[in-house]
Amino acid sequence: MIRRTLLASGVAAAALMAAGLPALAQDEPTKVGFVYVGPVGDGGWTFEHNQARLAVEEEFGDAVETVFVESVPEGPDAVRVLTDMALQGADLIFTTSFGYMDQTIEVASKFPDVKFEHATGFKTAPNVAAYNARFYEGRAVQGHIAGHVTESNIIGYIGSFPIPEVIQGINSAYLAAKAVNPDVEFKIVWAYTWFDPAKEAESANVLIEQGADVILQHTDSTAPQAAAQAAGNVYTFGQASDMAEYAPMPRVSSIIDNWAPYYIERTRAVIDGTWETQSVWQGIADGMVGIGEITDAVPAEVKVTAEAIRDGIVAGTMHPFTGPINKQDGSVWLAEGETADDETLLGMNFYVEGIEGDIPQ
């Protein structure tokens, strides 16, 4: 019972244990853990992460065992859940929300032999990798469609939190809409949640009352789709997952997060022992961001040009942030022909010229 006494001696033992576990577990399946910010049935963000988890299970069969915990608040609870997973012998853990960043780094420092993958953050460590998707690429396609189909010239945007990832999307969509419709105007509502059907529906209704006939959202539920359907003649786009149940109207296209290839690749790296920390940011070309089918509610010629934008991004001939672009205050951001560098995008905290209102700070 030496192991028991070791355990009793506390946190130092935790690290020892964790170090010993993978070695002991040679013949056992590789254990992959997932921590979700919402319920797996949210129909959006967490749903897609869970689909990718199922894809991992299917790919590796008995060689891999997956576990997950859903609706984990982004705070001390995440530390507990992560520590628990590591203690229970997880070899690789995906933490799938920005707000888990510090907690992932903290727990990872106590379990040097467990690999962690944090979604949408910017901190890494020898055993913590970061991964993110270039959602703004999909926003350009949405903005293009929105600029064409709007009749009121008012496009509503449900923002989640004013962080760079969301600001990128707003700017990207605005630029694409403005390019095809100079009169277009964006109304932005901040919901301060990733998933809250009631709040999202309320936000959508406020925007519709203000005259918006297209609604873009950076929140994960289908509540805005339902609100748009009730209002009639309002266009929406699926967010994170296809939300095809609302096609062809109000959902006319979507941004689909496809995490499966990445999760399978990284799980294989752990099994093969080739896992190394990295920070990746993949877009439509890599398959991490997908554009859901553009329905017939969109005029055929707009569908063609929208798909051309998508294909241009994939081919690398088109970048959603190509100069000349001014910042909201009129100062020059990108000169003619210049494209945005990743560093600026990852810290984006300004609107481009033409968007009204202030980013909450």
Partner: protein, 360 residues
């Protein structure tokens, strides 16, 4: 035929037995629920209620119980005074947020001053923040006769918006690359509310919760304030004759519960949470209402109820990751607990009589 007969006086025995029975009933009903989900009910119930205390990794879970239970107990003790006197502060969640905000603001303003007095100042500020936020519904009720249930609840949403604004604005970490959230207070030695003994989970919030329980016990049993609170709840008219001033009682009860909720927020933000973030609050203020009633509004009962509630959270997490149970099933179990308590509580006030049906 079963008939309910009102007891002339609430049964003492049942008022103690009811929570225990409610817990057992919850285990039974919960077990049935888990069985319906295709799980072995015995294993699930054991995982939730026993594994956090006795499993292989209990050395890790036990401190977590303290971390999770302390804010619940601290807030619930504060609420219990008002609830006894018929003063319904439903907005402890808001007072918790404001306490954390005001306390953290003091700590962040003094950064990087290295002195333990920083933490002391934060504690005072945290209690003050919660107290002040609770004074709004308190004063409105006293001066204008508004309903404190509604006002205190609505102020939760105001506090949440304020929290978001602070995390994005004035309290944002200047070295955070533009991302929302304050500096990490638990990494600032002057302000950190760390474990008093490393690895035990025993932080100042736990100490404060225990002190609150003892003080509340003494106040209720031995002090005139406790007597007034009990009297105001049981016989408002008699209380007036006994010299209880209702307005003052409202302000004291609201202020007390607000200050304790604010303290809970401060200890959380300086310790386990570390940062002011947009969604810093996770519902302790609302769960504490359940804890208060589960604990019969009695300090010792609240201590036990807080522990039990923490157990379902920690055990629920284990059940999720180990047994693949959905999060909603855990929430259901917690809801069942309150439901069963209310149902069983009937036995405290009513007697069950079996009678023969009479032919008319």
């Amino acid at each position: 035929m079963i008939r309910l007969e009102k007891r002339p006086q609430p049964s003492r025995g049942w008022s103690y037995a009811a929570p225990v029975l409610a817990v057992l009933l919850t285990m039974l009903l919960g077990g049935a629920l888990f069985a319906a989900l295709g799980q072995n009910p015995v294993v699930v119930i054991r995982t939730i209620f026993l594994d956090p205390l006795f499993s292989e990794f209990a050395w890790f879970y036990r401190p977590q119980l303290l971390i999770k239970g302390a804010p619940l107990v601290l807030i619930a003790v504060g609420l219990s005074f008002g609830f006894r006197a018929g003063i319904w502060n439903i907005g402890a969640e808001g007072q918790y947020i404001i306490g954390a905000l005001v306390g953290a603001a003091v700590g962040l303003a003094l950064y990087p001053l290295e002195s333990r007095w920083v933490f002391v100042a934060m504690v005072v500020a945290g209690a003050f923040g919660g107290w002040a936020w609770a004074m709004i519904p308190g004063l409105l009720r006293v001066k204008f006769g508004t309903n404190e249930i509604l006002v205190s609840l609505m102020l939760v949403y105001v506090a949440e918006s304020l929290l978001a604004a602070m995390a994005l604005g004035p309290l944002k970490n200047p070295e955070g690359m533009g991302f929302p959230g304050s500096r990490n207070l638990s990494q600032y030695p002057g302000a950190a509310n760390l474990d008093l003994i490393a690895g035990t989970g025993l932080h100042w919030g736990v100490v404060a919760a225990l002190i609150a329980v003892i003080c509340a016990y003494v106040a209720l049993a031995r002090h005139i304030f406790g007597f007034q609170v009990r009297l105001a709840g049981q016989a408002p008219r008699a209380a007036r004759f006994a010299g209880v001033r209702p307005a003052r009682l409202v302000l004291v009860c609201m202020g007390l519960s607000g200050a304790l909720a604010g303290l809970a927020g401060l200890f959380e933000v300086a310790g386990p949470a570390g940062q002011v973030t947009i969604d810093f609050n996770v519902g302790y203020g609302f769960t504490a209402i359940i804890v208060a009633f589960l604990g019969r509004l009695h300090p010792i009962g609240i201590l036990a109820a807080g522990g039990l509630m923490a157990l379902t959270y920690i055990g629920g997490g284990i059940a999720q990751s180990n047994l693949g149970l959905p999060a909603a099933a855990i929430s259901l179990l917690q809801g069942m607990l309150l439901f069963c308590l209310l149902a069983v509580d009937m036995l405290t006030h009513y007697r069950v009589r079996l009678t023969m049906r009479k032919v008319a």
